[in-house]
Structures are given as C-alpha cells and as structure tokens.
C-alpha cells in the first residue's frame, strides 16, 4: 500500500515539476531597453503576458510582427507616463478584449478556465485513490502483506 501511494505521489510531483520548470525561453526579438531598470523589468514582464494578436501563440515580447512592436511601444509609453501594471493591462483589454491577456481575469466568462485544472486534478487524485483502495483490498484478501509492492 505504502509503495503504491508513494508512486502516485511521485507521479503527481513529477508532472507538477515538469509543468513548472518548462518556462518559455526568452527570445531577443525586442532590442529596446528602458533607461530605468525598474521600468525595464516591469516592461519585460508585461510584454510577456500580452498576446500577439496576429500570431496568437506568442507574446508581444517574442513576436517580430509590426503590430507587436507597436504594442510594445504603447506599453513603454504607458509605463513612462507612470501607469500601473493593471492600468496597462486594462488599456490593452479595453481595445483587444480578454483574449490579449495570457493571464485572463477571473470573471464569470473565464471561470471555467480557472476552475477546470483544479477540478481535473481533484478528479485525477480521486481516481488514483480509488485504484489504491482497490489494490489494498485485493492484497489483504489474498493474505499477502504489502511489503512486496507490485506482484
């Protein structure tokens, strides 16, 4: 029993780590640096979470197309004008809709986007738990202990 449970936990952790570690590599599409390092860091972060509307699976930081360049310019100017990160996101959302945000807002329309992964995870854990329970029952019925793990 212990072994199977441990395996389940290990599998879950492995999936988790792979997901977290696969952070997209940064491309050197955008040569512009803002003079203020604090602004530059915010600029870098913001442009990575805004979608390039023409290419759709890239952020505006990673895309060489003209519109992405224009949107980066807008972000720089808004930041220089003292806007907060949220104000920049809202500026983009007002024009291009929720679709431009790689990290969508939590509203009624996008609720399933946020809840689905948690629900699927719970479903998976429940299924795993069921399998473990069944195997444990099997082992006890046969009169074996669980030291051998899988037979």
């Amino acid at each position: 029993m212990k072994t199977s449970l441990r395996r389940v936990v290990c599998a879950v952790l492995a999936v988790w780590i792979v997901g977290v570690a696969s952070v997209p590599a940064a491309f050197a599409i955008d040569p512009v640096e803002m003079s203020d390092p604090v602004l530059q860091e915010r600029y870098r972060a913001l442009t990575h979470e805004l979608r390039c509307m023409q290419c759709q699976n890239q952020s505006i930081a990673d895309s060489p197309v003209g519109l992405a360049g224009d949107l980066r310019r807008e972000v720089r100017e808004l930041l220089s004008a003292g806007k907060t990160d949220d104000e920049v996101r809202e500026y983009m959302r007002a024009r291009y809709g929720d679709f431009i945000l790689f990290r969508p807002r939590m509203v009624a329309q996008t609720l399933w986007l946020w809840l689905a992964p948690v629900l699927l995870m719970l479903l998976g854990l429940f299924a795993a738990w069921r399998v473990v329970q069944r195997r444990r029952a099997l082992v006890t019925d046969d009169g074996f202990d669980d030291e051998g793990g899988d037979r």
């Binding site: 509307m53 519109l67 024009r95 809709g97």
Partner: protein, 187 residues
Amino acid sequence: MKYLIPAGVFALLVVVLAIGIQRAPSKNVIPSALIGKPAPTWSLPVIASNQSPTPASFDSERLRGRWFVFNVWGTWCPECKVEHPMLLEMARQKKLPLIGLDWKDDDAAARRWLESLGDPYDVVVADRDGRTAIDFGVYGAPETFLIDDRGVVVYKHVGAMNPDVWQREFLARLPTAAPSDGTQGQP
C-alpha cells in the same frame, strides 16, 4: 460495467471535441471588445477626400450624427486588394459614407493605389504610427467597422468585405429610416 467510466469519459471527450471542431471556423475571428462602446476619436492627416480642396486633416467629430463605415486598409495588405472592388460597389450604392484608415502606410503609395484602382472613400486618413488602429483594436487589415449616429461601434468585420456581409451585417443593422438619402459626399 467495468468499462462504464472509461466509455463515459470517451463519450464526453467526443462531445467536447465535436463542439470544438464545429466552432473552429469562427475561432480565428476574435470578437471586438468595442462593440456597443463609443468609437475612439481621432484627428488625422487626410490622404484623399471627395471635397475640394482636400482638407489637411479630418476630425472624427465631424462624423457625429450619422452612420458610417470605417475601413482599415493598407497598400501592403494583399487582402485589401481583393476587397477593393467590393468597396467600390458599396460606394456606388451611396447608402453609407465610407471612411478609410490607411494603416501604417506610405501616403504616396496610398494615393497611387486610389488612382489606379479607383477611390471608394469619402475621406481617407493616414494612421502613420498605427495608434488609431490600436485604439480600434485592429489586429489585421482589412477590418471594417459600422459606427452609428451616436458614435457607437455597432459591428466589426474582419477580412475582406463581401456582398453577403454587407447586406446581412451592415445594411440590415441600419434603422429603417436609414440615411440612404445620399449622405455620401457630405463629410
């Protein structure tokens, strides 16, 4: 009995994927965030107009009080060339004023384009740095907006205009007392 759960999951997956495939053609078109909201205002240099002399600049305020079509294009855009005959047809019908936004383009190239292919626009203004297009949430030319007499965005079409869209999504949305009394040429 043993396969009930896997079969159920499979059936669910089939349903979800079937819905996804059915809706796929419309997925490329991202709905405009501006529908039902006031259209952005602008004041831009004029490339061409049917007024003489051609004014140096044109302000969107001058369109207030009438329905009009706002078409985003550029000479660098192949689909715009495909669309052009349809714009000429729309202009010929004189049902709505047609305003052109020449997006990140060369003024001289735009004038040559209009001379050689014909000019369907009442006014064409130049969005040289692309800011007005961003205000309109434009992500690819051509895009065509229908804007009402209060200056509210009623509809946006992405891609080349065609007779079906023109009839069903533009003309059909006009109030019955449509400004079909030859408003063309007024702005």
